[in-house]
């Protein structure tokens, strides 16, 4: 679904992420881990198009399975190609109501109403908050809203930056099973950045560890993965 080849990116002229290569297959969940400041968010921002690529390529699969380079494609058009992004930090459109936050992305889609309803069933807490201004929601409510908003776009590739931050434990579990279910049922690949090893290794099939902006280790989750990850992260 997504191929990163020797990707280097950063802010201004300073690279933060160096020479990263990463593959996410169809219907696969891949976790990226690493210390604070390792460059995880930076990597994701380049993938979704918020910061330019310095060198290397980002390749996205077309529906027919062939790959195309999308290095220069604006962020909003990557969404049309099937990417959805949940940024770090419980971001929402603070001046819109929660309902408008959802309608905003449903606008222009067929069955927009049904798409919204599906997500409201997934996050029932949001139902009662639809008319509240999103900027007034609690942190966890905003994060749930952000994930719902991403899922409404029916993505083929879901990019999550610490999605469980600030969310209550039982909803975290719900999100985890959603990710696993969607990937298993087909049609969704996930690039997941997560500090919680427990959550990440349970949801993902493979992992990569970033250290100082470089890939320090990759592998399949499963027995011994925890140790390998911790070892790769150790400085």
């Amino acid at each position: 679904m997504l191929r990163l080849r020797n990707l280097t990116c950063g802010y201004g002229r300073t690279p933060v992420v160096h020479d990263v290569s990463l593959d996410i297959g169809a219907d696969e969940v891949v976790a990226v881990m690493g210390h604070n400041g390792a460059g995880k968010t930076t990597l994701l921002r380049a993938v979704v198009g918020l910061i330019p690529v310095m060198s290397g390529t980002i390749e996205l699969a077309r529906p027919d399975g062939t790959y195309e380079t999308i290095n220069r494609r604006p962020a909003n058009r990557r969404v049309k190609a099937g990417m959805a992004y949940v940024p770090q930090g419980q971001q929402c459109f603070a001046h819109l109501t929660a309902g408008e936050n959802l309608r905003l992305v449903a606008d222009g889609r067929r069955h927009g109403k049904t798409l919204i309803d599906t997500q409201l069933d997934r996050f029932p807490a949001l139902r009662g908050l639809l008319n509240r201004q999103a900027g007034l929601l609690s942190g966890g409510q905003r994060q749930q809203l952000a994930i719902a908003r991403a899922l409404i776009t029916e993505p083929r590739l879901l990019i999550l930056d610490e999605p469980t931050e600030g969310i209550q434990p039982n909803v975290v579990a719900e999100i985890e099973s959603t990710i696993v279910d969607l990937a298993r049922d087909g049609g969704l690949s996930v690039l997941l950045v997560e500090q919680h090893l427990g959550f990440a290794l349970q949801a993902a099939a493979r992992f990569s560890v970033l250290r100082s902006g470089r890939v320090a280790s990759t592998g399949a989750t499963g027995d011994g993965a925890v140790e390998r990850v911790r070892e790769a992260m150790a400085i």
């Binding site: 609690s138 209550q168 909803v171 579990a173 427990g198």
Partner: protein
């Protein structure tokens, strides 16, 4: 030395008819790390907002200072509450990015300085600042602009800023959000150090972290106190499991995560 530092009585916060906090009583004692948990939207942040003067409320919040008696905080301005010794952090660390670590701490230490001191240059760092830099582990970064610190370091700096400001009630809203396992560990220990002489309240959703470091837990739900007590008390409370911890997860499900943080 478990003396009461802060007493909240019957706090109610009303947003145009919606009661985000609805009659909460809470006491924070020195020497404890008091965890505040509860579902998203339960009113935890709002309660902290109320105590620190950001949200209007009814009820009463009193600060107890040894030898000085109790002071009512309701109705005071934000900076007066801060000077009364109540310090808080926000979920996203807000440090002064253009100033160095030392300058950040020096400012935090100086709320009571005279105009005359303010108008002169800083000759050397105050002793409590140097001590705190050490305590939060940033001694190597004293002259680094705070803007380029790593995420976790900023959060430690923020806690450090409360310490040099002589806060003896610390209200920390999700202080380990976005931190890696090692950093959580370090932060937890830091909180215990700090709590020796102060009251520390922590809002968190990370149950492993809570289990590892909480002395006492209060669970909020829909603006009211649902349960309070030790970690075991609340973890085993079926109501807490239902609205918060989730019934689909058993202890064993959480095992890998435990292993990761322990």
């Amino acid at each position: 030395m478990s003396t009461t530092a802060l007493t909240c009585k019957n706090i109610e916060v009303d947003f145009d008819g919606f009661k985000a906090v609805n009659g909460v009583d809470l006491t924070l004692d020195r020497g404890e790390v008091h965890f505040l948990i509860g579902p998203n939207g339960a009113g935890k942040t709002t309660l902290v907002d109320a105590i620190t003067g950001l949200a209007r409320y009814t009820g009463s919040v009193t600060k107890d200072t040894a030898g000085k008696g109790a002071v009512e905080l309701r109705g005071k301005k934000v900076h007066h509450i801060a000077r009364a010794g109540i310090g808080r952090t926000f979920q996203t660390a807000t440090v002064f990015e253009n100033l160095t670590v030392a300058q950040n701490l020096d400012i935090a230490a100086g709320a009571g300085r005279s105009p005359w001191t303010l108008l002169r240059r800083r000759a050397h760092l105050p002793a409590n600042v140097t001590a705190v830099i050490e305590q939060i582990g940033l001694h190597e970064h004293a002259d680094t602009p705070a803007g380029i610190l790593a995420h976790g370091q900023k959060q430690w700096l923020e806690i450090g800023m409360l310490l040099v400001g002589d806060a003896d009630v610390l209200l920390l809203d999700e202080p380990i959000a976005g931190m890696g396992a090692d950093e959580r560990e370090t932060t937890g220990r830091l909180l215990h150090d700090i709590a020796a002489t102060r009251a520390v309240a922590v809002v968190e959703h990370d149950m492993d972290f809570m289990r590892a470091f909480a002395s006492r837990v209060t669970v909020l739900h829909a603006g009211t106190v649902l349960a309070a007590g030790t970690v075991d008390d609340v973890s085993n409370d079926p109501r807490v499991q239902e609205v918060y911890l989730g019934t689909t997860h058993t202890e064993s499900d959480m095992e890998p995560a435990d292993a990761a943080t322990a």
